[in-house]
């Protein structure tokens, strides 16, 4: 039994033309038993950036609160919102602080920077950042997600097309994973607004 597989969950983020999208399933399980179908794994860090946290649920919640604290303090001190790239390094430093008693979560960050340029990245549980231009995946369905994204993603997708692409990537990946699924949520971030949609999925 691995701590990263105990509760189950999958997250994916993609970059499009002047937009990014981040999506997650909604399952919370205790090994084989599903306990909740609306467990939040994506948290809003600033107006234009989100952090997705798959992994052990207790660490998902603890880290989301910790990052809320850190981003709030940053905003009060610096009198501006944190940029996605800076947020990524802050998350990485936080995880590495626990290098030998690590948090069981492998975050995904997606957002638009101050010039509305798309930014996505993922990292491992001790904070090694993977800066990607196309897509990043994390969670129990990560292998299937890699396959789906690699096939479906193409550059410069408009927000509506990016939504379809990321949704299909997530759905078809979690459908092959018994520990992820039971509902999904997708956030599409554009310079003007954030659109959140809940997907109708197989509930098994």
């Amino acid at each position: 039994m691995s701590a990263l597989e105990y509760n189950g969950g999958a997250i994916v983020a993609m970059a499009g033309k002047n937009c990014v999208a981040i999506a997650a399933d909604k399952r919370l399980g205790v090994q084989l038993m599903t306990v909740s179908m609306d467990f939040q794994k994506i948290f809003q860090a600033t107006d234009k950036s989100f952090i997705g946290l798959p992994g052990l649920a207790t660490d998902v919640q603890t880290l989301s609160e910790l990052f809320r604290f850190k981003t709030n303090m940053y905003k009060l001190r610096e009198e501006r919102e944190i940029e996605p790239r800076t947020l990524a390094h802050m998350v990485s430093s936080t995880l590495y602080e626990r290098r030998f008693s690590y948090y069981f979560a492998e975050p995904v960050i997606a957002g638009l920077d101050k010039n509305n340029q798309p930014f996505i990245c993922s990292m491992d549980l001790i904070g090694c950042i993977n800066f990607a231009k196309d897509f990043v995946v994390s969670g129990t369905s990560s292998r299937s997600l890699y396959g789906m994204c690699e096939s479906l993603w193409e550059p410069d997708l408009e927000p509506e097309d990016l939504f379809e692409t990321i949704s299909q990537s997530l759905l078809n990946a979690v459908d092959r994973d018994c520990l992820a699924g039971w509902g999904a949520v997708v956030h599409v971030i554009t310079p003007e607004r954030v659109i959140t949609r809940h997907l109708k999925t197989r509930m098994d």
Binding site: R77, E78, R80, R85, T86, H89, M90, S93
Partner: protein
């Protein structure tokens, strides 16, 4: 033995002053003049490099110092106290970079340094720093910035300022010469002129130090 020194030197006087800070400001007022000018595309800081003897190797003396690539610092007052604060400022900048992978914006670094100086007006067993600092920096969000930090730990931003012996005359001179559209080249020129006003002795390229942020 140690509990004899646990009280603070900066205890309030009946008038509500902290006399140690007043005296620290006197130490600053005796120090060599330093200038800072903010331009549209950068900041200039400058100071006299006044050595006690012509035998001193003045190339080894660094009064205008680098804190990190986007922030510079100069002082008026006691050199050794400045070195301590410089060391703290540099360490604070690197600590910030370790977390965020970028150097701190000027106002954040200034808050850190000011916080150290304030601590030394309240903690037991220490005395305030005998320096005023001019911290100049440039960051992408706020552009060029110039701050003064005093021994009390209070800080504020300037468009142009002077500290040290000749500060009153220098500030009067700057009030006439400064304008908001000033560019870096003009600011450098003006800072040299301002230093020249109160200069004791010969001003050569070895007897002044200039720091330029931006450009």
């Amino acid at each position: 033995m140690s509990d004899r020194y646990s009280f603070s030197l900066t205890t309030f006087s009946p008038t509500g002053k902290l006399v140690q800070i007043e005296y620290a400001l006197n130490a600053v007022a005796q120090g060599v003049t330093s200038i800072g000018i903010k331009a549209t595309n950068g900041v200039v800081i400058a100071t006299e490099k006044k050595t006690a003897s012509p035998l001193i190797d003045d190339s080894s003396l660094e009064k205008v110092a680098n804190v990190c690539p986007n922030i510079g610092i100069v002082y008026s007052g006691m050199g050794p106290d400045f070195r301590v604060l410089l060391s703290r400022a540099r360490k604070a900048a690197q600590k910030y970079k370790r977390v965020y992978n970028e150097y701190p914006p000027t106002n954040i670094l200034v808050k850190e340094v000011a916080s150290v100086m304030q601590e030394f007006t309240q903690r037991g067993g220490v005395r305030p720093f005998g320096v005023s600092l001019l911290i100049a920096g440039y960051d992408d969000n706020t552009g060029p910035a110039l701050y003064q930090v005093d021994p009390s730990g209070s800080y504020w931003a300037w468009k142009a300022s002077a500290i040290g012996k000749n500060m009153v005359n220098a500030k009067t001179f700057l009030e006439k010469r400064y304008n908001e559209e000033m560019e870096l080249e003009d600011a450098v020129h003006t800072s040299i002129l301002t230093l020249k006003e109160g200069f004791e002795g010969q001003m050569t390229e070895n007897s002044i130090e200039i720091g330029i942020i931006g450009g």
